[in-house]
Symmetry: C2
Subunit: 393 residues, 2 copies
């Protein structure tokens, strides 16, 4: 007979999920009510409004998809791409590759713009791709690459797309709530994100938003969207219908309680303050890591404060370090992916997990573990370097 599962109490400083705040966990376990209950519908309206605030958009087609971020990505592509469409896809990490898969599975042609993992998307290459191809319908790129910790210049990339009359699909899974994002100001046409990064909600739902230009493209489709579950024309009837909501699917009631609470907390803190908090603790972590002799994969201007890709010291088995951190400190940090596997760690400072306590724990645990494993690193300096950042503020 199987017994109940009691998870260990971790500190989550990997690429997500991040630590979930106790207020959000408490909301998650409130009694389930019907997905058509008037009280639930009122809550859905609040979720939409707060999500508009988080994305900085006034678009009414702003809502959480009832599935994880990869379904949010698919919701954007499956609704906007039709067979034969040309899409410029920027790839500088794992998720650009997934975008290519999406374009091709829905019958489009992906024109790839590639940059090295750890580098931002190069606007000059995007301009060149537009110059080389006519009738490009969409430019798709990742704002904050979770696989490398790189921030790309979404504002400039959107301007290039607009200049060529193309729509934009932007992945903000790791940026929403952690780095500046201005969906309406930058003219992002379709955007998706996740809940388990800087919003510190459990994984499972995916916030998205389409603006009027994107809605018009969806409404003028020549072919039926090759998905029933993600067809925005149907989802709109459910999330956008006010009192006359058309039943589409059963919303994940409790997951939406949690998401609501995490958005309430974001409103309370203020979006700009949340961005500044991520930057502040990143600075402390950075100074501590550098004092330990650990360097960053990404050049300073393109670093995501909420996701720090740092090099594993020479001769150290990185998986062994992660195992020890988990066993000795119940601390999770992330491994490198693809070509970076074995070479970097990804240290997250996301949402509720982005705080002084975690920065100090991570530095102390990493220094002690690396020393015990015989790494040739300076010791006794990391904590002081981090505290110096805190003391200066």
């Amino acid at each position: 007979m199987t017994t109940s599962f009691y998870p260990p109490q971790r500190t989550l400083m990997g690429p997500g999920p991040s630590d979930v705040h106790p207020r959000v966990l408490a909301a998650l376990s409130r009694p389930t009510i019907g997905h058509l209950d008037p009280e639930f519908i009122r809550m859905m309206d609040e979720v939409k409004q707060m999500l508009q605030y988080a994305f900085k958009t006034e678009s009414p087609l702003t809502m959480p998809i009832s599935a994880p971020g990869s379904a949010g990505m698919e919701a954007c592509f499956v609704n906007l791409v039709e067979p034969g469409d040309k899409v410029i896809v920027c790839q500088n990490g794992v998720f650009g590759g997934r975008m290519k898969e999406n374009v091709e599975r829905f019958g489009g042609t992906a024109i790839m713009v590639e940059d090295d993992w750890g580098k931002p998307v190069d606007p000059a290459k995007v301009k060149a791709a537009f110059a080389a191809h006519s009738d490009v319908k969409i430019l798709a790129f990742v704002h904050a690459e979770t696989s490398t910790g790189v921030l790309s210049d979404a504002k400039t990339l959107c301007q290039i797309a607009q200049h060529h009359g193309a729509l934009t699909i932007v992945d903000t899974v790791t940026s929403l709530g952690g780095s500046e994002l201005d969906v309406d100001g930058w003219g992002v046409d379709a955007v998706y994100s996740g809940t388990q990064k800087c919003l510190s909600c459990p994984p499972g739902i995916s916030p998205i938003s389409f603006n009027q230009r994107a809605i018009e493209v969806i409404e003028k489709r020549q072919t039926k969207t090759p998905s029933w579950f993600l067809d925005q024309k149907l989802v709109m009837g459910y999330w956008g219908g006010g009192a006359k909501r058309a039943y589409h699917h059963t919303a994940p009631v409790n997951a939406l309680y949690a998401f609501h609470e995490s958005l309430v907390m974001l409103e309370e803190e203020g979006l700009e303050n949340a961005w500044a908090r991520h930057r502040h603790h990143h600075n402390a972590l950075r100074d501590g890591l550098e004092a330990m002799g650990i360097g960053f994969l990404v050049e300073e201007p393109y670093r995501l404060p909420q996701l720090n890709s740092v090099f594993v010291p020479e001769g150290i088995d990185e998986a062994e370090v992660r195992s020890r951190l988990l066993a000795d400190y119940s601390l999770e940090i992330g491994a490198g992916l693809g070509a970076l596997a074995g070479k970097v760690w990804r240290i997250g400072l996301m949402g509720a997990a982005c705080n002084k306590k975690n920065v100090l724990l991570c530095l102390s645990a990493l220094e002690n573990t690396l020393s015990a494993m015989g790494a040739d690193i300076p010791t006794g300096k990391a904590i002081a370097a981090a505290q110096a950042v805190y003391n200066a503020n």
Copy 2:
């Protein structure tokens, strides 16, 4: 500033979600851990094993999809249907119509077998459809129609499909855990379900299973599955990979804690005992409703014990009754759908909500409300009729 959301405490006796047991809500709010954490992977293995028990299958490709039941349906169709395929779709309620949408969106041809809403799928019509069409690849039908409360004879329908060399896709959203279901014994090839019905878990994930025949068909596809998120070849690498799981998407960690706990509770009760419990309380509710002069839409042999479609008494505004039940008793029952809107209610007795307390509350509340609204019904007999069923056991 938006404030935290505190849902009312309802009694959920609609078509789902059903009341979630406090043990399941408690599991839901345990601390989030990483989706690649060794402890989480151990829990995933337990979920798979317990789900095999619930479905009565030994197939290793048995797992929860990270999205609601309608995505579970889509996972079956998008993986098994290729352009040009012929699929016999049985429609006797809302969900058969959704299956047709699925078939057509993935380029297949749906051959419709229609029965009246409130009637089971007629095996003779299915035989006739196979006789009239060669090269049918799949037979798809709903085992337990949530829109009407009808149980169809899945065993017989699967035999017909096997006789013609066709695969079966069976919707068991409302039957799993509430009515006899024997996936391997009946030879169901692809099955999907929901968590928010007789398993009494919050909505948001969808258990599915594919057997070896279905897996072979997926592996031999000529075209790429037109979905990345639901591509079972990729999902298999994540859920089936043991220690070497390939990252596909971020699993909904806390939703899976809850699902795990609901499956532990099902194991503790025993599958057959759970089916018997649903039958037992249905009998009490039925005798109580009939003593009130309220009749059933569905003939006795085809009635789902867990979903009771009953006629609204003459001259009564059914929506007003539901509003009063919600306001005066915090009790939710369901409305009729489609052609049955305004004519029937759907009273659920699902999972944790299927108990004596709820049967008595529902009968008492309904009788009092109908009397107050001037319905011409016998009073003072319903509770006694239900108690007689309980006293006899």
